[in-house]
Amino acid sequence: MTAWNLRPIASALWRNRTGALLVAFQIAIGLAVLVNAVYIVKQRVEKISRPTGMDTANMIFVASAGFARDFDYDASWREDIATLRAIPGVQAASVISNIPLSGGGSSSGFQARPGETNPEKTVPGNTYLIDEQGVDALGITLSAGRAFEPQEILPPTPTFDAASQAIVTKAFAKSLFPDDPNPLGKTFFDGLSRPITIVGVIEHMHGAWVSWDKLDHVVLFPRIKTGPSAIYVVRAEPGRQDAVMREIEAKLGDSNPGRLMRWVRPMSYFIEQSYLDDRNMAIFLVSVTGVLLAVTALGIFGLATFNVSTRIRQIGTRRAVGARRMDIVRHFLVENWMVTTAGVVVGCAGALAVGYWLSVKYQLPRLDLYYLVGGVLAIWLIGLLAAWQPARRASAISPAVATRTV
């Protein structure tokens, strides 16, 4: 370790500590922010990229609003659905009550036993009304049971949207019947204690609200949405989404003068809207962290550059008495490493404190220590890179400056 000169470098550094301490402080803040920001961003990215259970890449939603006084909702949706199903490239189309992952929808509480009064045993579910092609149009996978049959589809009701049959997600069934691995055929009850039989189990599906922890509690009923506004879900064959959307606009746009085609939108539109806050937060944190790291790197670079330019003669003297170029590079990298490490030590404490505060204040999961280790390595690397150029410059100083500089 002799040639690393740790002790003399440290003691010389300590004699000129003001600038070094400022940079170390900057590094500490940089580390604390970096680690927590990356951790939060990672959680947001994970949230955004969770599997939805649906074939979101090929789904299209269509909204129609009947406005004419003599508008015949029943005839209208039947005609629209027939038209949609006849468009080439359409795999399936269904009337649907709400758009999953759109931030709008309906939910109800359900119970395993009729007349259950314990609110803790009421299991909430995102409810959707679909027709016999609904399962296909959503692109969901049934792990047990079957989709609805055409004759099971009930007409719209203005009152309550339940039915006596349902297709539910595994997660919903598990909450309802925690001890029963096979819920198919079992009966559960709505808020009015009306029995509902499970005819199909969905492997996994997301409901309406992306930040709700019961997002994967979904209950599908065989019923047509109440008019006069209709929403249709259409699933295109892979790669044909755009063509199908154009075709829908052309076919449905003026097929019925009694209603307005409000929009035709891909599923991705709604997902983007729902995750906008999460995305913006992630982008914001990444930008702020990036700027902070750039400023930190600049601080390290500035300190190293200053140290080199104020020590030209010292460097020449070291070279004259036998330091190789490599020794000079190492001298400055070691010195810089000491500064970053001082910052890193303080920064670790800061990162843990910020992480603790976030976890208490925003109920975020506690900071994962791997992130701290990663952050420390990243800061060390940034420090090395930032000091590299000044260190190289120092090593290029000629030993002759020892005799030439006064």
Binding site: A323, R324, T403
Partner: protein, 247 residues
């Protein structure tokens, strides 16, 4: 010990070429004490830099300690400087952020000597220059003469074959200058070859031999009679250890 033949060194800037050394040849024997004199700008420092492997040269050959050193890599030159050559600078060149002990330690660390060995060398070098009691002082806490003695300790600690001093007394008063000179003589007597640039005729006279440089070349004209010749003349025996090759 040192043998230069037909060395030339040209500094090129955008405007002019300076021939700092022209066809410069010089031999210095083992254990000699040579004083280099000459007017300002004549090439003394350039000669010292070339001799000390701080700078390269354009033509000619240079043998140091019997080995050709004209075509060495930067790393090999660093190593030779570290092991064979000690430098003493006009403005001391102590590192201001290190105490005297650590300053003397600098070349020893680059030689990767073990801690115990370094400690011994540092202490005995500081003893020789009479600064043992000041080893934990910072350079700024010492007088100019003391700083120069500390710098001499740094040059000595590595046991160099060969000591190069460019106006070592240029920044100290005449009393201190004499002390520094005493010290150099003492070191020379222990066997170290010394080449010293000086403007002080009195100090130059104390060397074995004087080399006078004018305009990048060794001049025949000798302004001072060096001690060795005076002694040789007086005692009339013992050949002066010098070989001067005027260009």
């Amino acid at each position: 010990m040192l043998e230069m033949n037909g060395i030339s060194k040209i500094y090129r800037t955008d405007l002019i070429e300076t021939h700092a050394l022209r066809n410069f040849s010089l031999k210095v024997g083992d254990g000699e004490f040579v004083a280099v004199t000459g007017p300002s700008g004549s090439g003394k420092t350039t000669f010292m830099n070339v001799a000390g492997l701080l700078e390269s040269f354009d033509t000619g050959s240079y043998k140091l300690d019997g080995a050709d050193v004209s075509r060495l890599s930067d790393e090999q030159r660093s190593r030779l400087r570290n092991e064979k050559i000690g430098f003493i600078f006009q403005s001391f060149n102590l590192i201001p952020d290190l105490d005297i002990y650590d300053n003397v330690d600098v070349p020893l660390r680059y030689r990767r000597l073990a801690a115990k060995d370094r400690d011994q060398r540092i202490k005995s070098a500081l003893e020789v220059v009479g600064l043992s009691s000041r080893m934990h002082h910072m350079p700024s806490q010492l007088s100019g003469g003391q700083q120069q003695r500390a710098a001499i300790a740094r040059a000595l600690a590595g046991d160099p074959r060969f000591l190069l001093a460019d106006e070592p007394t240029g920044n100290v008063d005449s009393l201190m200058a004499r002390q520094v000179m005493d010290l150099l003589e003492q070191i020379n007597e222990m066997g170290t070859t010394i080449i010293m640039v000086t403007h002080d005729p009195e100090l130059a006279r104390r060397a074995h031999r004087n080399v006078h440089i004018v305009d990048g070349q060794i001049s025949d004209f000798r302004p001072y009679e060096p001690r060795a010749e005076i002694e040789a003349a007086a005692v009339a025996h013992g050949p002066a250890p010098m070989t001067m090759t005027p260009a």
